[in-house]
């Protein structure tokens, strides 16, 4: 097996994940191997139940594989303790959720600050909000923002710690097309400007057009990997 390159963010090898659901054993992942490089924009496509969310959870340190290895940089995550995984998420990963998961009692600025307060070398919350184009709405509470704006606050929150990787779970799933595009533009901007690897899982095939690489997952396995030589601009995508 070849050792991962120094520019490799994730190197996962033959990862399987099984769950016991009552008497039934569910094979969520069946031997997945994948490498993700620094600054890459990867879209993982797959229908519901294909295993893409399980894979994202394992990459994000929310879950551990049943078998196989997960290397982040050169660190093995598959046997990490809960507190080690917390530290990993705290310093290295940015999350963007389908339903934003903002704290309703905090303003946009404070929602970002929540994360910068605990990160080692964060940017200022205001800078993060400027990056996503919300510099004017920092004092608004989530309930005073549109869905797209809320998701952009979530992106600002995710990037403010300057993570090596941004994990996005259906980031446009709850948004209409035009708002979704704004969010995708923000992700693209972060990816290009900050150099963070971005992994987006979605069942929306249209988004695949903007990826550097598209990983299709079906039935717990990687069905196909495609490289886009010329990734599309988010504003040219529609669904």
């Amino acid at each position: 097996m070849a050792l991962p390159q120094t520019s490799t963010v994730f190197h996962i090898d033959d990862v399987t994940k099984t769950y016991q659901m009552g008497k039934v054993v569910v094979h969520a992942l069946r031997g997945v191997s994948l490498t993700i490089e620094d600054g890459e924009f990867v879209v993982m496509l797959g229908p519901s139940g294909s295993g893409k969310s399980t894979l994202l959870n394992i990459l994000g340190g929310l879950d551990t594989p049943t078998e196989g290895s997960v290397l982040y940089r050169a660190r093995e995550l598959s046997h990490a303790s809960r507190s080690e995984l917390t530290e990993f998420r705290r310093q290295s990963v940015g999350f963007v959720f389908q339903f934003y998961n903002l704290m309703p009692s905090l303003t946009a600025l404070e929602n970002v600050q929540v994360v910068t307060d605990i990160a080692k070398d964060p940017m200022s919350p205001r800078e993060a909000l400027d990056i996503v184009g919300l510099g004017e709405r920092v004092r608004h509470f989530p309930a005073q923002l549109s869905g797209g704006e809320q998701q952009r606050v979530a992106i600002a929150r995710a990037i403010a710690k300057r993570p090596a990787v941004l994990l996005c779970d259906e980031p446009t799933g709850a948004l209409d097309v035009s708002t979704g595009k704004l969010v995708l533009e923000a992700l693209r901007f972060v990816n290009r400007k900050l150099g963070a690897a971005v992994i987006v899982i979605t069942h929306n095939a249209a988004i695949a057009a903007m990826a550097d690489r598209v990983v299709s997952i079906a039935d717990g396995r990687i069905a196909n990997v495609e490289t886009n030589l010329v990734p599309a601009d988010p504003c040219d995508i529609s669904w």
Binding site: S53, N57, G60, L62, D63, S83, T86, E87, F88, R89, R90, Q91, V93, F95, F97, Q98, F99, N101, M103, P104, S105, L106, E110, Q113, V114, V115, D117, I118, A119, F141, P142, A143, R157, K161, D169, A174
Partner: protein
């Protein structure tokens, strides 16, 4: 058939169990305390009336110096008098085997044949005395000294040392609460009651064919006032010391007063629990209705009627109330039994069975039901009036805004997490206020429950520590010249002594009359000091009376007023004395006077009938030994021993209450806080789990979870402690604590405040810990998927 909706009621109950259990517990405690206290009250009342009736307990007690037996016949003929029993009642010094100090014995005569017509005894073991020195002894004294039948006790009877032989143990309605004269707490080791045949005791006290005590029962509906006047007229020539009605007889008073106190507690405490239980129910049902808007709308869309929806929630509330009541009955029975056991230890009834009152149980259930209905009516109404279309739309997102502190520009002082906590509190002012109110009540309950301990200890400290300074108090068989003091000073170990003179009197001011006594003490007395409630030392005026504020209140007199004093001994002179000072005291209704001035009023040469002695403690055993053999001495009371015994009694009696009360306070504060933190968890678990996903440590998220509770506790505790003080004030000045016999001083010690605080903190720790553990179990992966 069980309908689907009914099945769902059960499922909802199960699903909400985390929030409903504390409510059920709080309600159950309220029901339980109500049932326990009221049932115990009924049990006590019925045991008392049964006992009083069966043993023909007297309605009136009259002491005389010496009256001929024939007087009884004349008393019997008074209209309305049902039965009369004349007796010889004397206090003697006892020499109990194995006890260094002397104990006080009260000998009560039994008729020479048969049983007394009034104030009969209840035989517990052995038999009635037949001859000579055979005696019955009160059961508690026999138990305290482990005296078997046939045991002998030495007694100094009118200067002669005699052996009393115990042939039986007994109880009497006259001594349910058996206290030595002048004391407040029973001391079964130092005070015993003995019954012996009259012919055996009368000669020693020159009472052959005579009596010094008469008890009588009056017919129902008789004019008490007329009887009193006629009895007084009859006994006056024989040194009648005034009439005592049953309500003022020491034992009967303390039993009745306990019932009065119980009544106060039985109203106040369940009310607090009821309030807290209902407000918790109000919060939870309000939340359930909000969170089930879509389901309610859906059901209405299917054609369910409004009232069916209302009925659904009513059943939910009804189930909670029903479970609370059932559990409450269990708690009530257990608490009632525990209470009855406490009473059995301090009140000597032949039997004191706890009987669960069915009326009390129904009352409690009805009260909880009504309160719960009122408390949840608004929330249920919202469900009933919800329009389907409106319910289908998601509820408007919560509106947050900067808090007062932030608007004041203080936002920089707090971390971001604190802003979140404070804004949550401000967004739900009603719920926050109710949680604060709950903690305030729980804190107040602990203070109210514990303060009587402080107060009585303070009372003991003032009485036995500041006022009384002597080593022993000696009482004499009859008044003697003050020259006797030097004789007493020659007893072993005595360093010096100071005389006193107690004289029974009747105070009269206009139409108001009050029996009591005047204590005369010499100027410059050091072994006894008078204090007011603020503990300021009161100098004894050369002339005039110093009387207790309670006595002044009863007689409606004040400083400078003149009191008619009818002296109930000797020549039975009537004098007028000016009130020189009114003092706020805590025990009894004492009146003090300068000794020489008192003796002048009595037209006696300086005399004494007791002394306070300062004694070398190492020589106390010899002093007791010598005093037991000194005919003139009828009692030697060692101050420290009395204090110790009172403390032991208090610790055992109030200590038991304290533990029971503290348990209930803990349930209340736990109920309030656990509910609060569970709701926070339910409402914010998604948010908090998101933070965990973002890399927050469990500890950091946990702080946000319990932060709201901590802030509310910080606000509530000082208010709760003040509320506790107010409750204590209401208690101390209310019925049962502000009596002729004693006035409970309002003293709340720092340790009581600390206990109340600790109880809340302990409940918070347990609640917080439980929620903390539940937060740990929140599925982080689910959070990524779920929508609000």
């Amino acid at each position: 058939m069980v309908t689907a909706l009914n099945r769902n009621v059960v499922r909802d109950l199960w699903r909400l169990r985390g929030q409903l259990v504390p409510i059920i517990l709080v309600m159950a405690c309220g029901v339980g305390i109500y049932i326990a206290m009221r049932s115990t009250m009924r049990s006590l009342e019925s045991a008392r009336s049964k006992y009083y009736a069966e043993e023909r307990f007297a309605d009136m007690f009259v002491g005389v110096k010496r009256a001929p037996a024939s007087l009884a016949r004349r008393i019997e003929t008074i209209d309305g008098v049902q039965s009369v029993e004349t007796r010889v009642v004397v206090d003697v010094t006892l020499d109990v085997p194995g006890m260094i100090e002397a104990a006080t014995g009260r000998i009560v005569s039994l008729p020479d044949r048969g049983r007394p017509a009034v104030n009969d005894v209840r035989l517990r073991s052995g038999r009635l005395p037949r001859r000579g020195n055979e005696v019955l002894v009160n059961e508690a004294f026999a138990k305290a000294h482990v005296l078997p039948l046939g045991a002998r006790i030495g007694a100094l009877i009118d200067g002669r040392y005699d052996d009393l032989e115990i042939v039986g143990t007994a109880l009497s309605p006259e001594f349910i609460y058996a206290v030595a004269p002048g004391l407040m707490f029973p001391d079964d080791k130092r005070f015993g009651v003995f019954w012996m045949r009259r012919r055996a005791i009368a000669p020693a006290f020159d009472m052959t064919g005579a009596f010094n005590d008469v008890v009588l029962r009056v017919a129902r509906g008789a004019s008490l006032h007329d009887i009193e006047l006629q009895v007084e007229d009859l006994v006056a020539p024989f040194g009648g010391a005034g009439v005592l009605w049953r309500e003022n007889q020491v034992s009967a008073f303390f039993v009745a007063n306990e019932l009065v106190q119980l009544q106060s507690f039985a109203t106040m405490i369940p009310a607090l629990f009821l309030f807290v239980g209902v407000f918790l129910l109000n919060i939870v049902v309000g939340r359930v209705v909000s969170s089930q808007r879509e389901i309610i709308a859906g059901l209405k869309a299917f054609g369910y009627r409004d009232r069916e929806i209302g009925w659904y929630f009513a059943k939910l509330v009804g189930a909670v109330v029903a479970i609370g009541c059932i559990l409450g009955v269990g708690i009530g029975v257990a608490t009632g039994r525990a209470m009855t056991e406490i009473y059995e230890r301090h009140f000597r009834f032949p039997e004191l069975p706890f009987k669960l009152g069915s009326a009390e149980t129904l009352e409690a259930a009805a009260l909880v039901g009504i309160a719960a209905a009122l408390g949840t009516a608004f929330a249920i109404r919202r469900a009933v009036t919800l329009l389907p279309a409106e319910g289908m739309r998601p509820e408007a997102p919560p509106v947050y805004r900067p808090t007062v502190l932030e608007r004041m520009g203080l936002s920089r002082l707090f971390p971001v997490a604190a802003h979140s906590v404070l804004r949550e509190i401000e967004r739900k002012p009603r719920r926050s206020a109710l949680t604060i109110a709950g903690v305030v009540m729980a804190t107040g309950l602990t203070v109210m429950n514990t303060f009587s301990f402080d107060s009585i200890r303070h009372l003991l400290h003032v009485h036995f520590g500041l006022a009384q300074r002597e080593t022993v108090q000696v009482s004499l068989h009859e008044p003697r010249g003050t020259a006797l003091l030097s004789e007493l000073e020659h007893l072993p170990g005595v360093q010096y002594g100071e005389p006193f003179r107690v004289v029974p009197v009747r105070f009269r001011a206009g139409s108001r009359v009050k029996s009591g006594s005047i204590v005369g003490m010499a100027q410059g007395t050091t072994l006894m000091a008078l204090h007011d409630r603020q503990l300021a030392r009161i100098a004894l005026p050369v002339r005039g009376l110093v009387i207790a504020e309670k006595l002044a209140e009863l007689l409606s007199v004040g400083v400078g007023d003149s009191l008619r004093v009818e002296i109930l001994e000797g020549r039975r002179a009537v004098r007028t004395v000016e009130i020189a000072r009114v003092v706020d005291t805590m025990m009894g209704t004492p009146a003090h006077m300068e000794l020489a001035s008192l003796c002048r009023m009595l037209q006696e040469t300086p005399s004494m009938n007791g002394a306070w002695l300062h004694v070398d403690e190492a020589k106390l055993p010899q002093l007791h030994e010598a005093a037991k053999r000194k005919p003139v001495v009828t009692g030697v009371i060692e101050r420290r021993a009395t204090l110790r015994s009172a403390r032991t009694t208090i610790d055992s009696y109030l200590g038991s209450w304290l533990v029971v009360g503290l348990l209930f306070s803990l349930v209340m504060s736990f109920g309030v806080l656990y509910n609060a933190v569970r709701i926070t968890l339910a409402e914010r678990s998604r948010e908090l789990a998101s933070l965990r996903v973002l890399g927050f440590r469990h500890r950091e998220v946990g702080i946000i979870l319990v932060g709201e509770m901590i802030v509310l506790i910080c606000i509530a505790l000082p208010i709760g402690l003040a509320f506790g003080y107010a409750l204590a004030y209401a208690m101390a000045t209310g019925p049962g604590f502000d009596t002729e016999q004693f006035r409970l001083p309002l003293v709340v010690s720092p340790s009581t405040y600390a206990t109340a605080t600790l109880a809340v903190v302990a409940s918070a720790v347990v609640s917080g810990w439980r929620a903390w553990r539940m937060l740990e179990r929140v599925d982080l992966v689910e959070v990524l998927k779920s929508h609000d």
